[in-house]
Structures are given as structure tokens and as C-alpha cells.
């Protein structure tokens, strides 16, 4: 079976997840390797989730929250950005640079979600499979 990039997409309930719903409802297509984990807010996005997703073989981690200023909980997306910037240093040190990304899509922006899912998958495809997949004996 050919390798398809597997992406863990952490979506906040109010924007990212709703945008994905809208993308689906509008029959916009994006790669099936994108798997959504629903969080109430990206503010609850623990940096450990990123490391866990890579450890378990995901080739990329995408976090989709609300636009700055539109967070349902005021500033959860800002905290997420801060936390992800910090963990990204670890991610890069592990040789996984470029495989972690955060973006914003409002509940009305199904197209933004679909584009992000597609573009990020293509970016990760160029990087190749998660090297940790080989490192751990299955």
C-alpha cells in the first residue's frame, strides 16, 4: 500500500470543527489521511498531545482554532499558539520540523479548512513519512 500522509487535526469545537463540518456539508474534498480530534478550545491543546501524535506515527499535526479575537473563550487560541511555539522547538530538535502547524478557520470557512488540510498534507508529503515510524519496532 502506498504511503498517504496521516495528519492529526486538533480542532476547537466552535471554529475549526465547525469549519470541517461546513467543508464536509459543502462536499469540499480533502485528503482522507486528515483525522480530526475534537477539543472544546485550542486552549486545552496540551503540547504533549503533539508529541504523542508523532510518537504514534502521525506524519503531521495540524491545530485549527478560531481567528485571533474570535476565540469563543476569548484567548484560548492565543495560549495554544504560545504552547505550540514552545513545543515546536522540541519537534524541530527531534527532526520533525515543519510537521506541526496551527491555523485559524472560522465556522463559516469550510474552504479555509479544506485548503489547509490539503496544503498541509502536501507539505508533509514532501517531507516523507514520520521517521519515528521506523524507529520503533511495531
Amino acid at each position: 500500500m502506498t504511503w498517504e500522509p496521516q495528519i492529526a487535526a486538533f480542532c476547537c469545537n466552535w471554529c475549526g470543527y465547525a469549519a470541517a463540518d461546513q467543508a464536509g456539508a459543502a462536499k469540499m474534498e480533502y485528503p482522507a489521511g486528515v483525522k480530526i480530534v475534537r477539543l472544546m478550545c485550542t486552549g486545552m491543546m496540551d503540547p504533549y498531545y503533539v508529541l504523542r501524535a508523532f510518537e504514534r506515527g502521525f506524519d503531521g499535526v495540524l491545530v485549527v482554532g478560531c481567528h485571533v479575537g474570535s476565540c469563543h473563550y476569548k484567548s484560548g487560541n492565543l495560549q495554544a499558539k504560545e504552547q505550540l511555539d514552545r513545543v515546536d522547538r522540541v519537534v524541530r530538535a527531534l527532526g520533525l520540523g515543519g510537521r506541526l502547524a496551527m491555523t485559524a478557520a472560522s465556522a463559516a470557512e469550510g474552504n479555509v479548512f479544506a485548503d489547509a488540510a490539503r496544503d498541509f498534507t502536501e507539505k508533509v508529503r514532501k517531507l516523507g513519512p514520520n521517521p519515528l515510524r521506523q524507529a520503533v519496532p511495531a
Binding site: 483525522k35 480530534v37 472544546m40 476569548k74 519496532p137
Partner: protein
């Protein structure tokens, strides 16, 4: 390690929407083989009555303590299925949705094999999550009856009356000696030219006399503390030095020596925007409510000159003067608070080119309104403050302090919204009274956006009000007049208008309420107004549950919009207060007291003032009436003591692992 669970998986075909793409049979067989799954079944429409009954029957018959419904988005029917599960005797929070329509059959409809594989993963993820969930109960919290409305302008008055009519006990707190606010100063209201006092006064009386409204004037909220379902406000009542025995005869004011012609102390009347003087003992305006006189201790000779003067006490026939009164603090317990603190007029002095305060004949629109009032300082005559001569040529200048350059410390970037129509109104009123007067309005854009506004504006042109597009570069005295230099942008000509009176349409600014907002933990937007929860869809709520906002405290608006928003705020508060009990969302943060080490990080990141360390137990305590369940605290907690129910780390990790391409390595 964990107990065996009985999980049921229900796969919906969605009448083909799912099953035309996803091979439901394969997903069902896959699901049936998952750990703890005792039932995997599929059905044409899970949301139909038949589907719901089937869900309930299986829960009862198999004694399920976990359910995954693989169907459309949880935003559609999660609540429905949870409700049905609860009816069947299962805890509703043990049911999760696998979104295989919006996330599989729709976006991957040209890749059925991949869509099917993904659907398996999504179902597995929810099964694994459900295995880690436990029952949650919906708790209720008592809400303190009663509501405090802060600010006795038209917004506060209107909201108070509505809530009082609904039977709520209202404490209306006003910092000045009378209710009425700025609307009382405006003489007439656009676009109907109704007499402002005639429409406001009955409402003031209604609020004053309402059996459910406790009116506290000359009083300020100096502190606020929140506990679950309750706000305790500390209200400081300033001493009036006049008791309720006051009969309103006005003898004291007549005899008070302050502000008399030769008196060394002259006090500008706040009510008349400084256009006239007032005594140290005074009633702000004739129809002020309550009709109680007040002594201004900062200017009274009794207080300032070592008890030198007691004239008011001597002439008072009711013996209502009491110089011994002290400030008094009272605690007010309420369940909700409406911030209706209104606005103040921008002081145009920093805009030196307009000459405000430098030239007596430059005034603001609110001052001009006072001049138009037949009861006002000029008895309705539009005269030059410098010499009292009638003003033949009046020039109004728009956007003074509003729509300034970004970052300019002397002006505001926002549009104050009302000034265009205020200028149109005042220009018309003057033209109607004195058709021979020349009235100019210098503007950048004229915004006649409201109902009836455009017609009102057009009518002003018919009356002969002259509009010049352009703002003045300079206002300077010449030949006994004020010369207003302005480039007319529409003709390209430079005009020098010799004016008797220049009227500045000064911006609306929020009343200074920083301390109040800080004690309520309510934020401001960068322009200084109260930050609403959501500018578009929650304009009357704040991020602090139970605190609402009405009127110009939230942003500049006219009286019509203020009334509408005050009504909405009252409604929001009434819904919140409800029957005195609120059902609490169980999906909020909780603290493991054994792990908490009282570092306060959770308190620091919380936007809702919902978590605090108890000083006695040194454990963080979540106020479940305030927590929104965003989970910021869970991420910054160094010990993992605080977490959001249903989104605890093991629960989220279970879903991640189930979706991941690699099997879990032991």
C-alpha cells in the same frame, strides 16, 4: 486495569448519505471486534423515531454503559441522542458521536475505500474515548435573587423598570445626586424633535416609585466580590448633608453665599455643562429625582472655612440640614449586574486649532443643547457666551475627537455615531426658532443611518442649514468674530466663515469606570468601552456570567439603540436569574485536591474569573457557575491537578491513539 464496559455502536446510513460511500457493513464488523463492544448494529436513519427507539431498547436490554453513534456531526443530534439515552436509563455523558458523514462520506466521496477506513478509525477513536468516560451529573446552583443596575441614565432606568415589572428586585445605583443621565441634558431628541424631558421624566418617576426598585442615588459601587451564583457589591452612599425631611422649598439655595456675584468661590454647574454657576447646596435640575437637595462639601463654606457659614441650616424650615452625615457603606447581594454607566463628552481642549477654552464663543454640542433649553442658562437664547449678544452665524464642526488618526493620543479612532444627527437636530432647532440665522455644519461624512434620519437631514437642508464638506484648519478671532478657515472639498474653495458661535460635535467617551470593571473582572475594548462577550451575537453580555452591559457603556449609541440594548440586557439578566436556579454544564474544570499545590497558574490564565485558590485549604476551587470549560488551566497546571471533564488527558489520548497509524507499543 479498567472495569469491563458494555459499549454499543450504532451506525447510521443517513439514507445513503453515509452508506453510499462508506461500506457500513465493514465498519460494523470492525466495530464489533473492538474491546468492550457488546453490540454493533446499523440502521437507515438513527435520528428517526424508529432509530431512537432502537437505541433506547438496546440500552435497556443490553444494559449498555457506553454508546457510540456513527452518524452526522455531533452539532446536529448529540443532544437528541444523549437525551434519549438518559430516558433509557444510561448516563447521557457516556454517549459520543463519530462524525462519519461530514468527515468521511462527504469529503471523501470519490474515495470509498479510504472513507471506509477512516470511518473505522473514527468509530474506534470514539469507542476508546467512551471506555475512558465516566458518568457525570448535572448539578444546579442557586442564584441569588435580585439584580443591581449600575448607572441611572436612560439605559439603567429602562432596564431597571423592565426587570422590576418582571418581579425582580432591582437595586439601581447612581453616582450623581439624581437619575436621568445625559439624556436629561439633550433638550430634544432626533429625529422626531420630541422633548427629551417629556419622554424621560415619566420613566424617571416610574423607576423612582416602583415597589421593586431600590434607588440609591449619590452612591457608588466601590467593590464587587463574586461567589457562586452571587455578587456582593459594596455601595458607598455619599453624604448629602440633607435629610429626607427636605421639602424642596429652595430657601437654602437662594441664601447660599457660594457663587454669588462677589463670592470668592464660584462653582460651575455640572448640569449646565459649566455655562452657569450653581450654589454649594443645590438641586441639579428642576425635575431631578429624588427631589432632595445636596451639599457639595468641596465648595461649602461650612466645610471649607471651619464651620464659618450655616446659612442653609438657619433658613431651612424642615430642619433637614445635617452637617454630621458620614459616608456609609452597604453590602448589596445580587445574582446579576447590569453595567449601564453611560458616557461623558470628550474635552476638545487638546485640539488647539479649534480654540475650545481659549475663546469663550467655542462650545460643545452638549453645551449648545443647554443653551437651547428654555429652562437653561440662556433661557433658550442662542447667544455668544462672551458678550451675550445673539449669535447670528453658528458654525458646527463634526468629528471633534472622533475618527482620529490611529494612535493619536488626543483623539479616538472610533466614530461616535450620534454627533451627525445631534448637529442636524441642533441646526434645525435654531433655524426653526430664528430662520434668519446662518447655520453651517462642517463635516467629513454625514452619517444619517437610522430610521427617519435621512429624511431629517434632507429637511434640515430645506430649512437652509448649509453643509460644507471639510473640517476647519483654524478658528481665530477677528473683528469681534471667530473666523473659521475651512477648505470646502466639494468646490475646492477656501472659506473664511465669520462666526458668532462655534459648536464642536465632541466625541462620546466612556464614563470613567476602570475600578468598577476591575472589581467585576470585566474587560474593556481598546477604546475604553466595556468589552461585550461577542460584539456581534452577545452584545449585551460580558465574559463574566451574570454581568451584562447596556447603553453607551458598551459603545457610542443614540437613545433608540440604548433603549433597545437596555431591553435586551434586562432580558438576558432575567433569563440568567431564571427561577433562582441554574443547571450547570458538567463539562467544566475540576480540581484533584491531592495534586493541587496552590501555584495560582490556573487563576492567572482564566478569562472568566472562575478559579481561585482557597486561602484556608490551599487548593484551587472552580466556580462551576462561571467556568466555561475552555481548558486553558489544564494545560498550564504543573501537576495535572486541574482538568476539564470529558476532555481529560487519558480521554483525549485514547482518541489520538485510536486514530494513529501505528499500533500502541506496550
Amino acid at each position: 486495569m479498567t472495569e469491563k464496559r458494555k459499549v454499543g455502536v450504532f451506525l447510521c446510513h443517513c439514507g445513503g448519505n453515509i452508506s453510499d460511500v462508506v461500506d457500513v457493513g465493514k465498519v460494523r464488523d470492525f466495530a464489533a471486534n473492538q474491546e468492550d463492544v457488546v453490540l454493533a448494529t446499523d440502521f437507515r436513519f438513527m435520528c428517526s423515531n424508529e432509530g431512537q427507539e432502537r437505541l433506547q431498547r438496546e440500552i435497556r436490554e443490553k444494559g449498555l454503559d457506553g454508546v457510540v453513534v456513527a452518524c452526522c456531526t455531533p452539532k446536529m443530534y448529540e443532544d437528541l441522542f444523549r437525551g434519549k439515552a438518559a430516558e433509557a436509563g444510561m448516563n447521557p455523558f457516556l454517549l459520543e458521536i463519530a462524525n462519519v458523514r461530514e468527515q468521511c462520506s462527504y469529503p471523501h466521496r470519490h474515495e470509498p475505500a479510504k472513507a471506509t477506513e477512516k470511518a473505522k478509525a473514527l468509530v474506534k477513536a470514539q469507542v476508546e474515548k467512551v471506555r475512558k468516560l465516566w458518568s457525570l451529573e448535572v448539578k444546579t446552583a442557586k442564584i441569588q435573587p435580585g439584580v443591581a443596575v449600575i448607572g441611572g441614565g436612560i439605559a439603567g432606568i429602562h432596564a431597571s423598570i423592565l426587570l422590576a415589572d418582571l418581579g425582580h428586585k432591582v437595586t439601581l445605583v447612581e453616582k450623581s445626586p439624581t437619575i436621568g443621565g445625559n439624556m436629561a441634558r439633550t433638550v430634544k431628541t432626533f429625529p422626531t424633535d420630541d422633548c427629551a424631558m417629556c419622554t424621560l421624566s415619566p420613566k424617571m418617576n416610574e423607576a423612582y416609585n416602583h415597589e421593586n426598585i431600590d434607588l440609591m442615588t449619590y452612591a457608588e459601587v466601590v467593590d464587587a466580590k463574586r461567589s457562586p451564583g452571587k455578587f456582593t457589591l459594596t455601595v458607598e452612599k455619599k453624604p448629602r448633608f440633607v435629610t429626607d425631611a427636605c421639602i424642596g422649598c429652595n430657601r437654602c439655595t437662594e441664601r447660599c453665599p457660594v457663587s454669588t456675584a462677589k463670592a470668592p468661590v464660584q462653582v460651575e454647574s455640572e448640569w449646565e455643562m459649566g455655562l452657569s454657576k450653581r450654589k454649594a447646596i443645590y438641586l441639579p435640575f428642576p425635575s431631578a429625582l429624588p427631589q432632595l437637595w445636596t451639599i457639595d462639601a468641596d465648595h461649602c463654606f461650612y466645610f471649607q472655612r471651619n464651620h464659618a457659614c450655616r446659612v442653609c441650616q438657619m433658613v431651612c424650615p424642615a430642619k433637614a440640614i445635617d452637617f454630621t452625615m458620614k459616608p456609609e457603606r452597604v453590602a448589596v447581594d445580587v445574582g446579576a449586574v447590569i453595567v449601564a454607566t453611560g458616557w461623558k463628552e470628550y474635552d476638545p481642549a487638546p485640539l488647539a486649532h479649534l480654540g475650545f477654552r481659549r475663546h469663550k464663543d467655542v462650545v460643545t454640542q452638549l453645551q449648545f443643547a443647554r443653551m437651547l433649553d428654555s429652562m437653561g442658562p440662556t433661557r433658550g437664547e442662542i447667544a455668544r457666551p462672551s458678550d451675550g449678544k445673539p449669535a447670528e452665524t453658528v458654525v458646527m464642526v463634526q468629528c471633534v475627537g472622533s475618527r482620529g488618526a490611529p494612535g493619536d493620543p488626543d483623539t479616538h479612532e472610533y466614530c461616535s455615531r450620534v454627533c451627525c444627527m445631534v448637529a442636524v437636530k441642533h441646526a434645525q432647532l435654531l433655524k426653526k426658532a430664528r430662520p434668519e440665522a446662518d447655520v453651517y455644519i462642517l463635516y467629513i461624512d454625514l452619517r444619517a443611518y437610522g430610521k427617519g434620519f435621512e429624511e431629517y437631514y434632507v429637511h434640515s437642508m430645506e430649512l437652509g442649514v448649509k453643509y460644507v464638506r471639510g473640517l476647519p484648519g483654524r478658528v481665530h478671532p477677528e473683528g469681534g468674530k471667530l473666523l473659521v478657515d475651512v477648505d470646502d472639498m466639494l468646490t475646492g474653495r477656501r472659506l473664511e466663515i465669520p462666526a458668532d458661535l462655534v459648536v464642536l460635535s465632541a466625541a462620546m467617551e466612556p464614563a470613567p469606570i476602570d475600578d468598577l470593571l476591575a472589581s467585576l473582572h470585566v474587560d474593556k475594548t481598546p477604546d475604553g468601552f466595556v468589552k461585550e462577550y461577542h460584539a456581534k451575537i452577545n452584545p449585551t453580555e460580558t465574559a463574566v456570567k451574570g454581568v451584562f452591559v447596556a447603553g453607551c457603556a458598551q459603545g457610542p449609541k443614540d437613545i433608540t439603540d440604548t433603549i433597545a440594548q437596555a431591553g435586551a440586557a434586562a432580558m438576558s439578566a432575567a433569563v440568567f436569574l431564571g427561577s433562582g436556579e441554574m443547571a450547570l454544564n458538567p463539562l467544566v474544570a475540576e480540581v484533584d485536591p491531592n495534586l493541587c499545590r496552590a501555584c495560582d497558574r490556573c487563576t492567572e490564565v482564566c478569562e472568566f474569573d472562575a478559579v481561585h485558590v482557597d486561602p484556608n485549604t490551599l487548593v484551587a476551587v472552580v466556580d462551576e457557575t462561571a467556568c466555561e470549560g475552555c481548558g486553558k488551566c489544564a494545560v498550564v497546571c504543573p501537576t495535572g491537578a486541574i482538568s476539564v471533564r470529558q476532555f481529560k488527558k487519558p480521554q483525549v489520548l485514547a482518541a489520538i491513539d485510536a486514530l494513529a497509524p501505528m499500533a500502541v507499543v506496550p
